[in-house]
Amino acid sequence: MKHNNVDILLVEDNPDDAELAIRHLRKNNMANNLIHVHDGEEALEFIFSTGRYAGMHEEPQRPKVVLLDIQMPKVNGIEVLGKIKADPRTRSIPVVMLTSSKVDPDIEKCYALGANSYLVKPVNFEGFAEAIKNLGFYWLLLNQLPSE
């Protein structure tokens, strides 16, 4: 797969959640340029062209939005967020944090690190579908990024 025009980078370790999210995005024609990575380590390798993705690109990848789950094995979402927002080349990439819990103690930490949004994945299907659709619609179509 070419990685030149990645719209969405989905970082999600739970394959069921990932599948549901991708399904909804696809339903709304927003999954055409979607990359799904399975943990934080892979996400960073992809963005900064290291490890598995070494030598693939000169510049870091700049997807239109990163959907980033917080709870992940190895490198968690907060660490990934920190690395993306710390690098001037990737700082402007919008990052939406995904969490399962309304009472997550990390919400403040995420905003402090520069997260652009924070989404609690609803249990109910309609809610989740709606949230994913709105998310894709906003970040892919409405949000204006600084020109390169």
């Binding site: 549901l20 309304k102 009472v103 994945k121 249990v123 299907f125």
Partner: protein, 472 residues
């Protein structure tokens, strides 16, 4: 001490002196009057026979009394008949006899004595005594009194010094010991016993008291130390348990919700994308799966809310209860069908508590009242309060389905419900939350009801002093 001594001595001296002065004067007058009487009696013949020489001789007898400086006899016409002078100096006599009796002037005592034969007045005797004796006596007396005063004063001074020392030294020592103890909080210090008198036993009693205080102080500090250790241990334990609990609720909220999301999600995909291949029963079963999964999600959310509640202690403010309840009532109209309800509101006293927690209590109680009276054709909800022994008791009464009073305690336990979900929706957390909040705020909750006759939920809050006003 010396001042009092001096005043007492001086007053006594003055009184003594005054008394002596008065009695001396009296004696002097009496003495002069006796002499006067004798001379007057002896002079009757001289006057009767008009013999000034006899009279002079009689008067000359006054030489025996050196204080009588002059004397004279007037005839019955008031003319001087005969004169006497103690010295060479001739004093002036009053030109005519004055009224009978003796009078003191500053320098002299003089008097007139009538000379009578039977009842017939023949003339008047005049006697003049100088006050030399009195003055001499007074001077001597003043010296004596002054000496006595001085000696007693000195004696008193010595006594006070000596006795005072024997009393004040042990007392001063005692008070110094007390001061050292209170300054250093050192109960091992003891007062030194100086004598075997009352002060000695006072010192002993003082020391015994210190022994007891020391013993109690030792016990107390030992107890305190143990307590501190215990508190430290318990705090550490509690912190560990708290951390574990936090981790637990975190993983409950994350890990339990994820599979539920998948179940609902994929069941929904079945419903949407495989609708054509599912028969009616298949669709019903898929719907049941979804409904129960969603309920599980709500239960997890409510349980989490319950366990998280009160983790962050909010500030206590004065809550305008009337306004808060009205706000909630208005908000309820958006969520429930409330237009059939007839509300009645009593006066609600303001209270000092955590506003968001108390709001949650009212929301849960009022929502319950709306929910359980919803099947009544004319639902009524009454909200009010009463004051009882330093606390306010608020209540919410409805005319809904009510409950069996014997289960009223169960109502306030988590997941305990008295109605099936088919009758009334709910997870059984609302009233448990109410109880938890009110207990934390220092009050209590209880409920009264009869099946079919509505229910009344009470909660009490301490009527504390209102400090801050919260205008929300």
């Amino acid at each position: 001490m010396f001042l009092i001594n001096g005043i007492v001595l001086l007053t006594a001296g003055m009184a003594f002196f005054g008394n002596e002065f008065y009695s001396f004067k009296k004696t002097t007058v009496e003495k002069l009057s006796t002499i006067g009487k004798i001379i007057a009696a002896n002079s009757t013949a001289a006057l009767a026979f008009d013999s000034p020489d006899d009279a002079r001789e009689i008067l000359a007898a006054l030489r025996a009394e050196p204080h009588i400086v002059a004397a004279c006899i007037y005839d019955k016409n008031g003319k001087i008949f005969s004169e006497y002078y103690a010295g060479n100096e001739k004093s002036k006599f009053p030109p005519s006899p004055g009224p009978q009796g003796y009078r003191f002037s500053y320098t002299h005592l003089d008097g007139f004595v009538p000379v009578m034969q039977e009842t017939l007045p023949l003339g008047t005797l005049y006697l003049k005594s100088d006050m030399g004796a009195l003055h001499a006596w007074l001077g001597l007396y003043a010296v004596v009194v002054a000496v006595i005063l001085l000696v007693s004063f000195l004696l008193a001074f010595v006594l006070v010094r000596f006795l005072g020392k024997s009393i004040s030294t042990p007392i001063l020592a005692l008070s110094q010991t007390a001061k050292i103890i209170s300054d250093r909080k050192d109960y091992t210090v003891r007062a030194i016993k100086m004598s075997n008198d009352e002060l000695g036993s006072l010192t002993e009693a003082f020391n015994q008291m210190l022994d007891q205080i020391k013993k109690k102080d030792d016990n107390l500090s030992e107890f305190n130390q143990n307590l501190e250790l215990k508190v430290r241990d318990r705090t550490a334990q509690l912190e560990t348990v708290n951390k574990e609990l936090e981790g637990f609720s975190y993983s409950v909220s994350h890990d339990l919700r994820a599979p539920l999301r998948a179940i609902v999600g994929f069941a929904s995909i079945l419903e949407e994308e495989y609708a054509g291949r599912l028969d009616v029963e298949g669709k019903r079963i898929t719907a049941i799966i979804k409904k129960n999964t969603m309920k599980m999600g709500r239960l997890i959310d409510d349980l989490l809310e319950f366990s998280q509640m009160g983790k962050h202690d909010g500030m206590k403010v004065t809550i305008n209860m009337g306004r808060m309840v009205n706000d909630i009532k208005d908000a309820m109209a958006l969520q429930y069908d409330t237009h059939r309800i007839s509300w009645s509101m009593g006066d609600l006293p303001n209270v000092n508590a955590n506003a968001s927690m108390i709001r949650q209590v009212w929301v849960n109680l009022i929502a319950n009242a709306i929910k359980y009276s919803g099947k009544n054709e004319a639902p009524q909800i009454e909200i009010g309060a009463m004051t009882k022994e330093g606390e306010y008791v608020y209540y919410v009464v409805d005319n809904g389905v009510g409950f069996d009073q014997q289960y009223s305690e169960k109502l306030f336990k988590v997941f305990q419900r008295l109605h099936s979900p088919e009758e009334f929706e709910g997870t059984g957390v609302g009233l448990a939350l109410v109880k938890k909040i009110i207990t934390r705020e220092g009050g209590s909750v209880w409920a009264e009801s009869e099946v079919g006759k509505g229910a009344c939920f009470y909660f009490s809050l301490p009527a504390r002093n209102e400090i801050r006003v919260n205008h929300q």
